[in-house]
Symmetry: C2
Subunit: 216 residues, 2 copies
DNA sequence: TTGCTTTTAAGGGATTACCCCGAATTTTTT
DNA sequence: AAAAAATTCGGGGTAATCCCTTAAAAGCAA
């Protein structure tokens, strides 16, 4: 028997979900909470398989609730439910441990499918939500492409030196690795600092990582 | 009139696409190429709006072809077409400038929809492909969560110092910022090196960035 | 409260990174 | 062929980093 906890401040909506779920023999709604703290409190003393969590709870945000649930109760999964197909909500709650995100206009069949998918260890998203994420992903991708373009070009040798710096090699070790003088390595690093507009090696590492200049 | 270039080594498949597209008044297939270099050569002297590119071309990979197209011809879009719904293929070609990815079992309507979406400046993916990407995204997310857990705990002060190191502050500047002695800052850094198992500041920056210890 | 651990703080001394200069050779671009 | 960029190396100096040790203050457990 799968134990389910519903955390939603809209009583009517929570009722609707509960009636859908209780028609299923394998599912049992063990509690319905109207806010985050109540839900967390219930979880302290009861084992629950999956929490249907409203992202936009009043008071304590659903995102914080989700974080606490997944940190304290490793075996409990969270399916985020929201009225809003907002990229920021989706990414935020996914970053805090939710395994799925569906909208409140989701029908009976899809709700059950989402629950079963997540119980099986996989993630689930509504089609609309998936589209939203993918759009954001592509935006981020093309945006990072653009910032990469305005990088001054790094020569092959400089790139090698940079990668070894990121790998925590000392100047002497880089020199040995590339069979060049210590002074040459310093020269390359100096040029990198100027080209990438960094003040020290820390900046070089940061810029290298931000622009995917490592391990290619 | 939208000018289209098809780059696919399977002649029969290219023919099929071409026949679909030429039934549309607004589309014109200006060339069909069986390999990458031929396509790139054609683009040198002809303006094309969109390239339907097979990911798995013989010889020069479709990924490299895509990279060169999007670098040299900014206004030309690329729609990747492939037999395989493989995450590595999808992410690779997206990282190299493709605006969409569809499978070869895609029907007429979806093909046209994909082309029009991309021409409109948006990205397009088959549902199957979207699922694949989302799965990979969730895997990466949960994986990074796990590696974060096995970090030794960093004290509040150490975290402040670490964040300033990432921001390229010198030791003296960190001391001024936090109103502590230069020697104290060095002490914190030294402890960070031990705790995070790093050899120098470059390692600290790398670990901080890999584990999202920055700007929180 | 006492004892233990962690955090925060700091100094001495050795090492390394960084900077400014210059300069020769090779490769790439024009 | 000429110009520009990349790769190579050095001297000498300052500042930053790193290692080791010490110690007060804060947090925590018995």
């Amino acid at each position: 028997m799968t134990k389910i906890l519903i955390a939603d401040d809209h009583a009517m909506f929570a009722d609707g979900i509960a009636s859908i779920l209780e028609a299923e023999d394998s599912l049992e709604v063990v509690s319905r909470c109207l806010d985050g703290p109540t839900a967390l409190n219930f979880l302290e003393s009861n084992k629950v398989d999956i929490v249907l969590l409203d992202v936009n709870l009043p008071g304590m945000s659903g995102i914080d609730v989700c974080k606490e649930i997944t940190e304290k109760h490793k075996s409990t999964k969270v399916l985020a439910i929201s009225m809003f197909n907002e990229e920021s909500f989706v990414t935020e709650i996914l970053n805090n441990g939710a395994m799925g995100y569906i909208l409140k206009n989701t029908g009976r069949d899809e709700l059950l499918k989402a629950i079963n998918t997540i119980l099986g260890g996989q993630s689930y998203f509504s089609d609309d939500v998936t589209q939203t994420i993918m759009k954001g992903l592509m935006r981020a991708r093309t945006a990072s492409k653009q910032t990469q373009k305005q990088l001054p070009k790094i020569s092959k040798r400089e790139k090698e030196v940079l990668q070894l710096i990121v790998k925590e090699f000392t100047t002497q070790e880089i020199a040995n690795e590339l069979f060049i003088s210590l002074k040459t390595v310093e020269s390359h690093r100096s040029n990198l600092l100027a080209k990438l507009n960094a003040r020290n090696s820390a900046g070089l590492v940061r810029i290298a990582m931000e622009n995917g200049l490592i391990e290619r």
